[in-house]
């Protein structure tokens, strides 16, 4: 019997060694160790042996069985490892093929610029407000120190609804609305659509402005410059500089135009800044005491500053958009370009 065990064992070990995949190993297991396998059948024959022989033979048989098990296990592990490696090799991808992107939406560049600007001023304690686009002549002009038949009306080509109502030509009427309804201190930015009857290569009859107003007991032109410098450095680059130039608006006195160092050439002079190194971006000034008085604020006690700028102009500078018409064509090839940005 011993010889028989030895012979089965040898055959089983040879079969294990010969098996090359998981399936063959399974068959080997069934054939030798399965319920009706050769080794198991032999095991059943133990009962026929004498009492003395049985433990001896049992030991031998168990040893043989353990040897086959061990061989099977080690070979199975070996084969599984190999098979896994083969599968992984088969699963190789061309990692340079494109991924599947979920559709990605965008905000209009005007919205992006608007929110960028609003964020800067929120940080300086400004609130946000909006106002009516169809506006009364009173708020759009008269309370801003532009009476009827005043030459300053020529500064803006106005769309009229009738004698008393216009499409607002600027966001400035909200200055008057804030001042007539609030008590200082007031610090507010007012973004919105505005309208001028001007339609050519560089003008759109509808465009966007953002207005700023700060009223308190002691606000200086220096504070205006500080605010606008903070804005310009946030919007463009950290080393952007600004300069004030005298100008005229009926509702501010003194009035200034504000230039920033050209974002394209960094102030060296290029086509965008017409070689000057400076780009005009907004108008501003000290709120005219006459406006304060008309709006019911004591000009001997309070003062402040106001500014207004065009969002299209800022967007054109910031993104290098060559033509204002592109904003309103709404071609998806344009709109899709204004994806997320990372501030640096």
């Amino acid at each position: 019997m011993k010889a028989q065990i030895e012979s089965i064992k040898q055959a089983a070990l040879a079969a294990v060694s010969a098996a090359s995949d998981t399936q063959a190993l399974g068959e080997v297991r069934v054939r030798y160790l399965g319920k009706s396998g050769e080794m198991t059948s032999l095991m059943k024959g133990l009962g026929a042996l004498s009492k003395e022989e049985r433990p001896e033979m049992g030991k031998v048989m168990n040893a043989a069985r353990a040897e086959i098990e061990a061989a099977l296990e080690s070979k199975t592990a070996q084969v599984a490892q190999r098979e896994k490696e083969e599968r992984l090799a088969l699963e190789k991808l061309d990692v340079t093929l494109p991924g599947r992107q979920p559709a990605r939406g965008t905000l209009h560049p005007i919205t992006r610029v608007r929110e960028d600007i609003v964020r800067v001023f929120l940080g300086m304690g400004f609130e946000v407000a909006e106002g009516p686009e169809i506006e009364s002549d009173l708020y759009n002009f008269q309370l801003l120190n532009v009476p009827k038949d005043h030459p300053a009306r020529d500064m803006q080509d106005t769309f009229y609804v009738n004698d008393s109502y216009v499409l607002r030509t600027h966001t400035s009427p909200m200055q008057a609305r804030m001042m007539t309804t609030r008590k200082p201190p007031i610090r507010v930015v007012i973004p919105g659509r505005v309208y001028r009857s001007d339609d050519d290569a560089s003008h759109s009859p509808i465009f966007h402005q953002i207005e700023g107003l700060a009223i308190d007991k002691h606000i200086t032109l220096g504070d205006l410059e500080g605010c606008l410098l903070a804005f310009a450095q946030q919007m463009f680059t950290k080393d952007t500089e600004i300069r004030l130039r005298p100008s005229y608006f009926p509702f501010t006195e003194p009035s200034v135009e504000v230039d920033v160092t050209c974002a394209i050439c960094g102030g060296k002079g290029c086509r965008v800044c017409k070689g000057t190194g400076w780009v005009e971006i907004l108008g501003a000034g000290v709120v005219n005491p006459a406006v304060l008085e008309m709006c019911g604020i004591d000009s001997t006690e309070y003062g402040g500053f106001a500014f207004g700028l065009g969002l299209e102009r800022i967007a054109m500078i910031k993104y290098g958009i060559p033509n204002i018409k592109l904003f309103y064509e709404n071609d998806v090839r344009f709109l899709k370009q204004f994806n997320g940005e990372v501030e640096k």
Partner: protein, 797 residues
């Protein structure tokens, strides 16, 4: 304002380049929009001498000239009948002419030509600009003229002209003289006064004409002078050239003098022919209602009683400050003229000019506003020019009818006040010297106060803020250092909830893959018909513009869908295979028409899409995604809106309130917009969504035990909306039901005509334990019973 530098130099010494001068002017508040070099209108046009001329071998009308240009002799083929010996001008190879043409050497009928002989037009001049120059002839220079010089320079056509933008608060600077004063301030130098020097030898003006001013509010000052034995001839060349440089066509000596004074002093003048002043009278009065005047331009104007007219004893002879009558002007045989130099109220001139649609250089000037000193200055300057040009015999005296006016306005202030406005220190001595240069003397007063004595010409200076501006624009804004609310209170700031909500909606829609667009707020009134809006709809009440850019941009929109469909159609027509867009904007709804109070402006959201991935459910998915983010529970019911596909549109309600619609656009409507693809759109009222949304995410406990899913397929009538079935199932009273969804709808012969099979999936889970089969079965039974009683649902066999 066009300002030739040569003219400015009459009053101020300018020793810097035009570019530097422009920079200095900008720094004190005068933007320079352009610098024009007359001599650079054409390049490489040189003086030359025709040495010899031969006939062209191949062309009868052409000649071949040898032309000496100083450094060499070149050959030019020309059709000008030159004989040889002439001094003229030639454009060399590579020259650019005033009209933009470039000259290249080349063969003309087989003979080499190395240039082109030039007339005045080629260098940007006219024959009238050059004494003795004939029309349609080449330029002629005197014998001995140096050769090879720039032809324009040789003709003195080499001025440099600044285009200065004068702001509305400085009407006085619409004149060479006042601008020269600013130049003197900018260059820190002195300014000379215009020359006033003439001899009045004729009879007194008061014998020739009598002036009555009946409305001194609209005409606060009227001056007149008389010139007899007038001789009419072309003005001297210098005057003509200067007028042309500022864009005024020279006419004759008298008209040119009035235009010269308008430009130089800023005072509009008019010259009346005395023969046409009936009764020898000038009466400044309001026109009679309906009174007619035919103006110089031949236009018949009907005036109203609010308009000011210059009249003689019988009739209007001019619309005050705007234009003279047809016979008021200078004729070749005019012998006696009356110069008018008046101040008319700017708002009156502006209103009248607009009402009559009548404009002139004079009205443009009056509209900006004019000071009291200019009338006398202008009149005397005009008489000086009459005297210098020998244009006639000047009558003694001037007529001057004027109201009392304050020649000087005093403004009291302290340097501390200025510092408080500007945020920089204000050195007193510097301040006084700057204001003095600007013609504003300052005197000290007790208590450290100062008083500025502001002349009438600076009516823009009203108070301390104006004084601050005058100081700082010359002192320099660079003296102000940036600060951040150094002396002001802290404020809280923030975003109001409607704006925050809108921003949120925009971000969610972008996250759902849509691109934001922005369209015009005004559109064509035809939008209502295109969208099949019923005749009695409130949406047909809109605000119209009285001066739109055209019919297509003439009314304020009451819906956004129209603009969205236009944008979708535009994209489809411009090679974009698909688009998914949204816009948030206002619609405008008048409370009454004509407008007597501000209209209601409502914020709306419109969504639009087309392309391979676009269909009803893609659109609805976007709406559902948005509503989920906003915590809004919306319900959908078939819509009867006429611009939607009859079977693919839904009205959307939230808490029983209609908030908008969504659906496929009716193919006929899509076609009307020029789209050849299926369009999908939705429009929602953003204000209602804000009111109805709960806005808050809050924690709900979820089960730690396995959930159980069960499917059920029932047969119902085709008309039963699946949404109603889901609602009925959820309300069937089946405990622990956490979701009910439709996953398949099937129609077919086995189901039966007019019926459909709706397959639904239900999920149950309890937070306390695992549910048993018996519990699930009894709950499914409740659901089935509810569907059966509500819709007659039968289990699908």
């Amino acid at each position: 304002m066009l300002a030739p530098i040569s003219w400015l130099k009459d009053y101020v010494d300018i020793n810097v380049s035009p570019e530097k001068l422009a920079e200095k002017l900008v720094a004190i508040g005068f933007e320079v929009e352009g610098i024009e070099y007359q001599a650079k209108k054409a390049t490489s046009v040189k003086t030359c001498k025709i040495v010899s001329v031969e006939k062209h071998p191949n062309a009868d009308k052409l000649r071949v000239a040898q032309v000496d240009i100083g450094s060499s002799v070149i050959q030019v083929v020309t059709n000008v009948p030159v004989e040889g010996g002439e001094y003229t001008a030639v454009a060399l190879d590579g020259a650019r002419l005033a009209d933009g043409h470039e000259i290249k050497r080349g063969e003309l009928r087989g003979v080499l030509s190395e240039g082109m002989l030039c007339g005045p037009e080629e260098i940007g001049m006219t024959a009238a600009d050059i004494d003795g120059q004939k029309e349609d002839d080449i330029l002629r220079f005197p014998e001995g003229t140096p050769l090879g010089e720039d032809a324009a320079v040789a003709l003195g056509f080499d001025d440099v002209i600044l285009d200065v933008s004068v702001t509305a608060n400085r009407p006085d600077c619409n004149s060479i003289y006042k601008l020269a004063k600013e130049v003197a301030v900018a260059l820190d130098t002195e300014c000379r006064e215009p020359e006033i020097a003439y001899e009045a030898t004729g009879d007194d003006v008061r014998g020739a004409v009598d002036v009555k001013v009946l409305n001194d509010a609209l005409c606060p000052r009227y001056m007149a002078a008389c010139v007899r034995n007038v001789k009419i001839f072309p003005s001297p060349r210098k005057m003509r050239m200067r007028l042309r440089a500022v864009g005024i066509r020279p006419i004759n000596n008298i008209v040119d003098i009035t235009n010269y004074v308008l430009t130089e002093i800023g005072q509009p003048m008019h010259a009346f022919d005395l023969r046409y002043l009936s009764g020898g009278e000038i009466v400044v009065r309001n026109a009679d209602e309906g009174e007619h005047i035919v103006t110089l331009d031949g236009k018949d104007n009907t005036m109203t009683s609010s308009m000011l007219a210059i009249c003689d004893a019988e009739k209007p002879v001019a619309v005050a400050g705007i234009m003279g009558g047809e016979f008021s002007g200078i004729q070749p045989d005019t012998s006696t003229i009356i110069f008018e130099s008046a101040k008319f109220a700017r708002d009156s001139v502006r209103r009248t000019s607009r009402a009559l649609n009548l404009r002139s250089d004079s009205s443009a000037r009056f509209e900006k506003g004019i000071d009291f000193a200019s009338q006398e200055y202008g009149l005397k300057r005009a008489l000086t020019l009459v005297y210098q040009t020998g244009s006639g015999e000047i009558g003694k005296g001037v007529i001057d009818v004027k109201v009392d006016y304050p020649e000087v306005k005093d403004i009291e202030f302290t340097t501390a006040q200025l510092g408080r406005i500007l945020g920089c220190s204000v050195p007193k001595a510097k301040l006084v010297s700057i204001l003095a240069k600007l013609g504003i003397p300052v005197t000290p007063k007790e208590g450290g106060k100062l008083v500025a004595h502001v002349p009438d010409a600076r009516s823009d200076i009203d108070g301390v803020n104006d004084i601050a501006e005058e100081f700082i624009r010359v002192y320099g804004y660079s003296h102000i250092k940036p600060t951040l609310f150094k002396y002001a209170a802290l404020t809280r700031g923030g975003v109001p909830r409607d704006i925050a909500f809108r921003n949120r909606v925009k971000e969610e829609l972008a996250a759902l893959g849509l691109n934001e667009c922005i369209t015009y707020s005004f559109t064509s009134p035809s939008f209502a018909d295109k969208l099949r809006i019923p005749g009695d709809s409130e949406l047909r009440k809109w605000v119209s513009l009285i001066n739109p850019l055209g019919e297509a941009l003439s009314v304020m929109r009451t819906v956004l869908t129209h603009s969205m469909l236009e944008v979708l159609a535009y994209n489809a027509a411009h090679f974009n295979k698909s688009a998914a867009l949204f816009e948030i904007a206002k619609t405008y709804h008048p409370k009454a028409l004509p407008l007597t109070e501000l209209p209601e402006e409502r914020e709306k959201l419109v969504i639009g899409m087309y392309g391979a991935d676009a269909d009803y459910f893609a659109l609805k998915g976007v709406a559902e995604g948005l509503f989920a983010a906003l915590h809004v529970e919306a319900e959908y019911a078939p819509s009867s809106l006429a611009f939607l596909h009859p079977g693919r549109g839904a009205d959307v309600t939230v808490n029983g309130r209609n908030v908008g619609y969504l659906g496929e656009i009716h193919p006929d409507v899509a076609e009307a917009y020029g789209a050849d693809v299926r369009l999908y759109a939705a429009e929602f009222d953003l204000e209602k969504l804000l009111e109805e949304c709960t806005g808050k995410a809050s924690f709900r406990e979820f089960s730690r035990y396995p959930s159980v899913e069960r499917d059920l397929a029932v047969v119902v009538s085709d008309e039963v909306p699946a949404g109603d079935m889901v609602k009925a199932a959820l309300n069937a009273g089946a405990e622990d039901l956490t979701s009910a969804e439709v996953f398949d709808v099937y129609r077919g012969a086995q189901i039966g005509e007019g019926m459909k099979s709706v397959a639904m999936s239900f999920t149950f889970s309890s937070v306390e334990r695992t549910l048993t089969d018996e519990e699930i079965s009894s709950r499914m039974q409740k659901i089935y019973s509810a569907l059966e009683s509500a819709f007659g649902a039968k289990i699908r066999a």
